[in-house]
Amino acid sequence: MVGPASTVVAIGIVLPIVMLFRYSLNQFTPAKMMVDAFTIENYTKFFTDPFYVAVLFRTVRVATLCTAICVILAFPMAYCLARTRSRFKNLLLMAVILPLFVGNAVRAAGWMVLFGNRGVVNSILVGSGIVREPLQIMYTEFAVVVGVIAVNLPFVVLTMQAVLEGVDRAIEEAALGLGANPWRAFRHVILPLAMPGVIAGTILSFILAMNAYATPVLLGGPTFQMMAPTVYNQFAGLSNWPFGAALAFVLMTATLLLTVTSNRLAQRYYRR
């Protein structure tokens, strides 16, 4: 039974990754695009060029910020969803899932309508006299962070809600009954029990944010550069497949390392 699934994984994931890694060791020449070689010059170029290192750090910064805000916003929502006995619970769940029905690019287009110089937000601000000139919201880090949070939030809420559903309400009531105030009950009882959901939601959000493409391109504009659009630009814009492959590998490795490290630290902390 494991055979067919393993074959699909090998062909669909492992093989392209192996090929991509091999490409990353090749050389780029404008006329031939890729010349067979065995060199680490593409990786050297990345780590010795402050521009590309800055793009990686910017990506990590945006992903960390978006993930932190997502977790903070998602936990109360997930808790309410898990604890509610309302007959509208399914409707509330649908409201969380609904944004996932729309693609990232379409959602970013919606934000563009809101954030443009003549958009809804600026029209309200200028119309109400709060500002004289429209604020530059589009093509800023703020716009990207808002856009990425909007994409990731439903994933985090659903992940946390699934785990919180399994936390026995009696344990929470016992903590409160034994004299713990709501904050202590949350910190020492609910949060540790919900930790698997928090960690899963954090990992999911971080990976999605690190690899975000449509939102940074559409809301960040040409001057706000993150890793995934830079990878695409090398492949499609410059036909520099070797460097594009190296960038993709750096992005994959950074995402993996940061995810595994944070996961281990969180688990160690809550095991104490």
Binding site: F28, P30, A31, K32, M33, D49, F51, A54, N117, R118, V217, G221, P222, T223, Q225, N233, F235, A236, G237, L238, S239, N240
Partner: protein, 352 residues
């Protein structure tokens, strides 16, 4: 029930299935295919351009010749990557690819294009010499001009040096995907040439420091001009005509340093499955009726001499005798050799 009497036996069913599979393997069995002269797959940009190719070439000129024309729609970066990726295959998936002149040169430089057999293209006798390449044919052309909004820019610019001036601050708009033409215009404005873009870099950095807006696409620039966020930019005249039609209050000026040509055309990939069909399509692309329709619908100039463009349209989209003398072609070899370095400078230094 007697199985012999039913008319459909297992053996007959297997025989019929085998015959059907055989016919399919012989080249596609279908009543429609039997009448078809073949399929031509045209790689092209989407949107209006693809629709107009259908309206002005495929439907009126190819369908009567029993050709089935299919569009493989995508951005040029993706389609160029596809050409490269398919290069090792004996049969590619497209018969033609729509590219700019610089990209056609680049693809030919990478040995991916089939030499054009002009003997198979009778309409090529009317082709303007600048549009005739051994590896591709120019379909439409326009020139890079200055666009400005007279309400925001009091003194009409006359040159690229006037347009790419830091004094306009954030009223100067620059299109990210037009980095080659922008660097070229800045070079021409600063003593550079078609084979040396270096002198323009300082000017561009000064504009950037003064607050010039960098917009991602041509469409974003159209919106910024409409909203009056941007008052001046450089763009192809054909686009300016389209934006004027859409209500943007912009005027155009042909720069005195020269008007860089923008040529869009088609190449045949070396491994195109239907090379003859591709030549037929190219011949129809050069039909005067198709060229006239593109001039009217899209605002680009015809690349053949026998197209009869109405004088009013010609005045709107074309260039007068004096301006025609200033039309300058790009140095495609320089671009192909330096594009990666130019883009790197653009991304890292100019935008960074």
């Amino acid at each position: 029930m007697d199985r012999q009497d039913s008319g459909i036996t297992r053996r007959r069913l297997i025989q019929a299935g085998g015959a059907l599979a055989g016919a399919a393997a012989m080249g596609g069995w279908s009543p429609a295919w039997g009448q078809s002269a073949g399929r031509v797959v045209v790689g092209t940009w989407g949107g209006d351009y693809s629709k107009l190719l259908s309206k002005n070439i495929d439907t009126p000129l190819m369908v009567p010749k029993k050709y089935e024309v299919v569009h493989d729609i995508g951005g040029d970066p993706e389609r160029r990557a596809k050409m490269r990726a398919e290069a090792r295959l004996p049969r590619g998936t497209s018969d033609l690819q729509g590219l700019s002149a610089a990209q056609m040169f680049e693809m030919n430089d990478a040995a991916l294009c089939l030499p054009i057999d002009y003997a198979k293209i009778p309409n090529a006798q009317f082709l303007l010499p600048q549009m005739k390449y051994p590896y591709g044919i120019g379909h439409i052309y326009s020139g890079k001009v200055i666009l400005y909004n007279p309400k925001l820019i009091a003194t009409p610019p006359t040159s690229f040096a006037d347009a790419l001036d830091p004094r306009y601050g954030n009223k100067l708009g620059i299109i990210d995907i037009q980095y080659q033409f922008t660097m070229m215009a800045a070079a021409l404005a600063s003593g550079g040439s078609m084979t040396n873009y270096e002198p323009g870099k300082e000017r561009l950095m000064a504009c950037r420091k003064a607050g010039a807006r960098i917009l991602p696409t041509n469409e974003a620039m159209a919106q910024a001009l409409q909203n009056e966020e941007v008052g001046i930019c450089i763009m192809w005249k054909a686009r300016a005509v389209q934006w004027q039609k859409a209500g943007a209050k912009v005027e155009t000026v042909a720069p005195k340093e020269g008007i860089p040509l923008y040529i869009s055309g088609f190449v045949i990939p070396k491994n195109a499955p239907n090379k003859d069909g591709a030549h037929v399509w190219l011949n129809e692309m050069l039909q005067s009726s198709a060229q006239e329709a593109f001039a009217e619908d899209m605002g680009y100039n015809a690349t053949v001499t026998n197209a009869r463009i109405p004088p009013e349209t010609e005045k709107r989209i074309g260039f007068n005798a004096e301006e025609r003398k200033r039309l300058i072609d790009l140095d495609y070899s320089y671009l192909a050799k330096n594009d990666a370095a130019l883009k790197e400078w653009w991304d890292k230094t100019f935008k960074g």
